[in-house]
Assembly symmetry: C2
Homo-oligomer: 202 residues x 2
Amino acid sequence: MVSRTRNRPERPATVERKASVLEAALNCFAVNGVDGTTIQDIQRSANCSIGSLYHHFGSKDGIAEELFIDGIQNLNRGMLTKLRRCKNGEESVKAVVGQYCDWSTRNKDLARYLHSRDIEFSSEARIRLKEIHRDYIGAIYAWFAPFVARREVRVLPVDAYVPLISGPIHEYVRRWLSGHHENPPAKVKSLFADAAWNAVKG
Amino acid sequence: MVSRTRNRPERPATVERKASVLEAALNCFAVNGVDGTTIQDIQRSANCSIGSLYHHFGSKDGIAEELFIDGIQNLNRGMLTKLRRCKNGEESVKAVVGQYCDWSTRNKDLARYLHSRDIEFSSEARIRLKEIHRDYIGAIYAWFAPFVARREVRVLPVDAYVPLISGPIHEYVRRWLSGHHENPPAKVKSLFADAAWNAVKG
DNA sequence: CTTTTACTAGAACGAAATTCTAGTTACGAT
DNA sequence: ATCGTAACTAGAATTTCGTTCTAGTAAAAG
């Protein structure tokens, strides 16, 4: 477990195989849920052996964790890239909402999986996730700090910004992903973007 | 499975036993997570036999489902009761936020469990949950309809109300329950209540 | 060319969910 | 009151499924 993640670079075949396993796993999870998916399902779907799975991921939860972490990082990266093209507080707040809509629509299965929280994370993975979250939130706050400083954005308890800006669209998307309502996020994007800006503007 | 749920009323001892199993299960889930809890853990903790568990609940997921459904209904009931004491749109919207804070604080383990989504629901349970949700949402909309009719509350796409009103506080509470921030919901209750009202007032 | 290490393979193992068989207890009908 | 039936309890037997283990093959390093 220790030696696997350090040292030598992975062979090209390894990178491919790991990617194909994660893809296969996501498909299985999307169809049968995490618990409903067996190691054999993944192994068959990825055309590899059990030994290979365990060599690369260590456990079933290991696969689930890596998929989860990759997904979060993909989402975060996209968000920061989008954000850094914005010129002011209003554009930024609205971009957060818009990007979340777009990403979730483009990556439905992955979005559903990230919402599902069906994974028993190892303590290592939990620590890793905390780090990722801390770094991400740090970058986000750093981006918004100037807008708050010049009172473009309202001063609030730090923990309140994310819920106020992203809470409604998260809730909407979660419901949409589980089939609760008709309109795809694109249809309500600007409504929620306006509401978010309204909630935090100075 | 079919005959169990119809026909004869349950004996008093049965009601007690089922309740004690659900309580035991919630404790185990809170400590070790759903996956980390074995049937034996529950069985020992509830002082009953494996046969008894399977007689009453059919499976481990059956226990998890019933706990989930009971929890949702408890939450819904409390919300409607609170709501029906309100006199106007503003009071109602703010009551939704306040009641959610209070309930989650009073029932931390259950709230965490409801947020966890760690359950593979059977199709029966999924249908049941849809029904419950439909009825609940129906009652909520019926309550708010008059306020919308007289433009106390803004006219919006139906699917937007819940996310706009409850989205932020849901997000906040979810983060609080998983240890992300300091302030208990009570501390930010009025902030989020005001924001919710602001988002939907006419 | 040899040695080492990454990687693949699938049979064997063990833990935990579920099923099965054999009961016991409550309760309505006769 | 007692008989028959269905609710309920019990825990051993079985099955399922994640994980480990042993035996290899392919590829890179020396």
